[in-house]
Symmetry: C2
Subunit: 201 residues, 2 copies
Amino acid sequence: MSKSTAERILDTAEQLFAERGFEGASLGEVANRVGIRGPSLYSHFESKWRLYEAVLERLLDPFFAMLDELAAMPPSPERSRASLERMVAHHVAHPNLARLVQQAALAGGPQLDLLVERWYRPFFQSLPAIIPGGGSSDSPESKRITAMIMGFNDMILGHVTLAPLHARLFGFDPLEKEAVAAHIDFLAALTVGGDPGFGGE
Amino acid sequence: MSKSTAERILDTAEQLFAERGFEGASLGEVANRVGIRGPSLYSHFESKWRLYEAVLERLLDPFFAMLDELAAMPPSPERSRASLERMVAHHVAHPNLARLVQQAALAGGPQLDLLVERWYRPFFQSLPAIIPGGGSSDSPESKRITAMIMGFNDMILGHVTLAPLHARLFGFDPLEKEAVAAHIDFLAALTVGGDPGFGGE
């Protein structure tokens, strides 16, 4: 089963956008790496922006479908642990997801707009009980929960996006099996005092 | 007191490297934004790489000097909290530091080599008691400590690099005073069961 040209374009573009961001990646390089000419690329994706959207859709639609599923499960300590395991496993299996989110946050502009409006905001708005007032509440409890959600997001994305730095420092790949298990243990231990914030209560 | 041309070049290059990474930033744009011509830029910095090194030196030398100082203090719960506060305050005051580290980790190659060899590795090698065998030990305790150090690094850098995403989602800037206090409270609470890993014991 060989991949279609469109799939090979998406694979290559995903890798380049993950390494260099939207602005830093060029369609010419995507076409070169796939081994097609520029006009042929445009017959599949009419613009760089449309290609970027298609790359994000392929990565983010399944991820947020999984988050919706996890959020709908009844809360329990076992569910918290299982949710962490599934989220981390998803990021390890699709490391460009975290890299593209981080690139968009660093670049800002329309890339971040797209990410927030199409995926992040609808998901967080479906969790009103977790962030009172959609995060705008000034209660100490709301601030504590928001700091916790941000901390978990920093760790879950950072485990992938900072992996090359940590691999060089510690002599092993943080995305390998044993290191991923230690990462999940560390995250799970943090939830003893409370839910990590992804859930349907 | 007006800034020297060299300082204005460094400020502008730092901002561009933070937003777009080394490859994505161009010397032509640095010169344009500073309002000088290309040849004038080269009279201050002989190459893009030398400019990048100078930007990193200005950001990372003071940060690692601070880490050396914190690591030399005798351990105590008060010291852990104070160390967290100083590290976070430093990143909030110099947000391009975290952005440049994250950009180098995403890009890999010579940028990450420079960061690791000149700053990160010498610092971590000065902490032999914290990471037995310089991180190469396979003991469960070593794995636990390494996962904790990575988690803290993910949160401390991610708080800055993911701030634009979290600001859009939660309606406040994570780098503003109250949000920074909640972030430090969250990090400090995590150290109740153990040292965050930055220290001289």
